[in-house]
Symmetry: C2
Subunit: 186 residues, 2 copies
């Protein structure tokens, strides 16, 4: 892991605990046993740290969703794949997900626009899957936005749950979460 990557993972952990605005460059440096000024030999500023954390994991969601959409399978199967995608990313990047969920509004303009675009595209793809499922008679004809929101809100806050009760085996989580979220709409 490069020094830059060390800074980013340390920062992600602190941002998760206290939020981006409440963490100072001195906090990050102290956690690494160096001085704040030394951070600037590896990164351009605090904003850059935030954008690396958030955009990297946002791109993982984008790639994952692209794969799901390209699949030749039923809508329900696609929803299952999306749930699994969220669980996998949660397990591997739970600190980054805290920043993505809580601190995205502190991105600077260019990165903010890129992030919002990715999030909107992601939601639109998910919405289309749900609508296709309803049209095919696989999913109950509830208001699609309500279905989208209730599933997505659970998946988005999965990181909180994983951090508190991480002991529960990931496979149990995967199986039960799929059951609870899917069985309600089929």
């Amino acid at each position: 892991m490069s020094r830059k990557e060390e800074i980013i993972t340390t920062a992600a952990r602190l941002f998760n605990e206290k939020g981006y605005k409440a963490v100072s460059m001195r906090d990050i440096a102290t956690a690494m046993d160096i001085k704040a000024a030394s951070l600037y030999n590896h990164i351009n500023g605090k904003q850059e740290i935030l954008s690396e954390i958030i955009l990297k994991v946002a791109e993982e969601f984008t790639k994952g969703m692209t794969n799901v959409v390209a699949e030749n399978s039923s809508a329900i199967k696609k929803v299952e794949k999306v749930i699994e995608l969220h669980i996998d990313i949660t397990v591997n990047h739970s600190d980054a997900l805290a920043a993505l969920n809580n601190d995205w509004m502190h991105l600077e303009e260019t990165d903010l626009k890129a992030f919002v675009k990715m999030r909107e595209d992601y939601e639109e793809n998910f919405r289309r899957i749900i609508k296709q499922g309803i049209e095919a008679g696989e999913i109950k004809p509830y208001h699609p936005e309500v279905i989208l929101f209730s599933i997505l809100s659970t998946l988005r806050t999965l990181y909180l749950w994983y951090q508190k009760r991480g002991k529960l085996d990931v496979n149990i989580l995967k199986k039960d979460m799929v059951s609870v979220l899917i069985k309600g709409i089929v």
Copy 2:
């Protein structure tokens, strides 16, 4: 509305937009067309504003849950009542819910403890309702924690949805949300 209440609702709106730490006392004062120093004639400090916002709405949840628990009805009926409680509070205090969800960790020690206690009690009551429902055969025997989490995560982020698509009639929201969240577990 007293001047103090004006400060609190103005602050809640700004905290919702940018987060507690990113909003300065000068920001709050400017939004009210006064100077920052004048705020201190009505409140003791920034911390007090945050704690009034969060603890007031936390107490509403506590009271509401107490009423639900005291009811003489089925577990499913109680879950429905909890969902309705969240929707009602979301409609009336959506700014405060943003602070409750995102800025609770910035409460000072005494208030932080009180808040965490209320949240834990609330979750425990909800957990008990779900377990009773499973024992009574009303709710499917999924892992109770997974059911609790998936419903609660949706209810907790309802304010985000309400703020984006508030146009959707509250009664439609109530009906469809109850359907989507409940039908999956019965």
